[in-house]
Symmetry: C2
């Protein structure tokens, strides 16, 4: 039992909390306001609400609304230059995981010289130490599940290199995050389901990772409990605010898991898919691989798999000892069926069976740090096998 | 489900973690080094180890080692003046709850004008807003249970006024806390038991408080589970480091409960005892009142009491509905017996039955904020009754 704990983010959580931002001290006077490409955020009225709050607080801001759903290094570098040229003193992001991750990356590059890939730890990144702390980040979340609101991580794609890599330093924790489940109520059914499962996988991976701690374990069990209870309800009825609130809570806790434990190679392997297919949502990619991934790891961490099975409400009493860990995988796929996201097909996104080795190699190269968190060291061949078994 | 979350403290947790302080960035160059009166800390060798670390880091420091076990405002004001006159830029505390609380109070008053009681919210305090942020605080803990390492609270006694009051602002969270269970191994049996129960009561009070949140509840249940499993072992064998580590973990989590929920009037009433009897340890005072306190509240929060009973391993299956909540109180007193701290006597500390009303009045006056956290508003008469039933 030996760990460090640090989650320096202040979170305002609850329905209607966005309005409390009026009274909260913001970490600067002149913001870069980051949001996604397109008009969704404006159409939903969230944009205007936040603008009103910033005006009320006397905050001036510039806008950058060119973030794509898997944000690219080029977008980040352009926005960081814009923030620097205009002397912005903090970054505020309004959107889902891609926007908040981008806000962090922009805030970091606005205060550091050179290229983002100079600092990235893995893949072709040079792993240089950060020169300066990032600008302060305020996150206003419109989805639930990525956990970026309570961790330091950002996932950015370098399209030239086909590398989609997670990066973070202590200063890229948001200073302030608003998690208002009301804002997540507009998520379409499919997005609700796949981002909800992103939270679930953070919890399951964090639980079987080498780095799990008593604190991350408590969060992990709670997240899996919440997702199994409330995600089917949130998917079935997007206006069920009790369900939405509990999934927002699960998402927020899942970020805390990433801050107190780590994801494992499931997240790494998924990056191998999405970096070649930026139209594939991260949560969907995770779902595609999850069954064969957890079937593979069940035998290496049996006790923890059995505990996770119980958390999902399954019983292992009458199951032969060696089959008990696999009960978790059955319960998980059952939950995926309930949420309508079992059997998502790679082929629907243009992935072919011939891509398996390329994607596995990419994952090992770009996200080696997450493979190092596994309790069993996954070889390239085993990674290809997991991907191949996942192919449909 | 509506709450704020903020625990900006970084914690280094684990046996041997004190040595890692060598590599940790400290929040200044010139410290006020605060410890308790007497030679215990020096005799145990902790003092020399910390001095070596500070030297290794090139940190200069001045010492203030006049903190009593229930620290007084006069000690704080004197030390704050000393820190200010010498331009100390952070405060490092080495000791138990009283020392760390004092480090926070000194850090606060070193940067704020006037008297500590100008800022105190309740009792005779003037409730002025803080003018400045406190100096950064580093906490090196030698006990386990107060939770001060992960909250903003300090408890200081104004001896002139007989007021023992908790105070805290966001800047009085320690910047960095070292929770090294090795350092707690030197605690005598009685201190182990009563500080362990301090953690237990933070958890139980935080669980029945109005302010409980899904996060604080997860922490509360975990703390009660850990204390019930490991405190009897730590009391029986002070060298059982698995038990010590888990009690240190419970203590750290119990601070997080105070940062995400709140104590209730049990802590308030205890202040009524200790402010008149500074030789009475806070944890012992809590134990003395706990049975009649929880017996009183059982009927007002029955569901939560039943949940707490189950966490302590008790079953309520064959118990009549209206008696189920009281099973928690039985399980709790059973645990107190196992730890040798059931039936502590007020009369052993010079308290007489005639003091009950005076102490109750004092509690209501000085700690009204905690009475406001109860789910049932406790009257003065009911408070006197709880105290009277506790008198032995």
């Amino acid at each position: 039992m030996n760990f460090d704990f640090s989650i320096p983010t202040k979170v305002l959580f609850g329905c209607g909390k966005l309005d409390e931002l009026k009274r909260e001290k913001l970490p600067g006077k002149f913001a870069l306001f980051v949001s996604s490409r397109g008009n969704i955020i404006k159409d939903l009225g969230y944009y205007d609400r936040l603008v009103q709050i910033l005006k009320y607080q006397g905050i001036e801001f510039l806008e950058y609304n060119e973030i794509s759903s898997n944000p690219t290094k080029d977008e980040i570098m352009k926005a960081a230059q814009y923030a620097r040229d205009n002397f912005c003193d903090f970054v505020i992001g309004l959107g889902g995981g891609s926007v908040i991750d981008s806000a962090k990356a922009i805030a970091f590059m606005a205060r550091n010289p050179g290229d983002l890939w100079d600092y990235i730890f893995t893949g072709s990144g040079k792993g240089l130490p950060a020169k300066n702390e990032a600008l302060p980040v305020v996150a206003v979340l419109t989805t639930a599940g990525t956990g970026t609101e309570t961790d330091q991580w950002m996932v950015i794609t370098n399209t030239d290199l086909n590398e989609m890599i997670a990066y973070g330093v202590p200063s890229t924790f948001p200073k302030l995050s608003v998690v208002d489940p009301d804002l997540s109520a507009s998520m379409p059914t499919f997005l609700t389901a796949i981002t909800g499962f992103d939270a679930f996988f953070h919890a399951a991976e964090g639980f079987i990772a080498k780095t799990s701690t008593p604190i991350s374990e408590a969060f992990s069990l709670q997240v899996m409990r919440l997702v199994s209870k409330y995600l089917p309800r949130a998917v079935q009825n997007g206006n069920d605010m009790e369900a939405r609130s509990n999934i927002s809570l699960a998402g927020m806790l899942s970020g805390m898991i990433q801050s107190t434990s780590s994801c494992t190679s499931l997240h790494a392997i998924e990056h191998g898919l999405t970096c070649f297919h930026p139209d594939l949502h991260h949560g969907a990619g995770l779902l595609m691989i999850s069954e064969s991934y957890f079937n593979f790891f069940a035998k290496y961490v049996p006790d923890r798999f059995i505990k996770m099975a119980h958390i999902l409400g399954a019983t292992t009493d009458d199951v032969p000892e060696e089959e008990k860990p696999y009960v978790f995988v059955q319960a998980m796929t059952e939950l995926q069926k309930q949420c309508g996201v079992y059997h998502l097909k790679m082929s629907d996104y243009g992935i072919t069976i011939d891509d398996m080795e390329k994607m596995a190699r990419n994952a090992h190269k770009t996200m080696s740090n997450l493979f190092a968190m596994d309790r069993y060291p996954l070889s390239l061949k085993e990674t290809v096998d997991i991907l191949t078994k996942s192919f449909r």
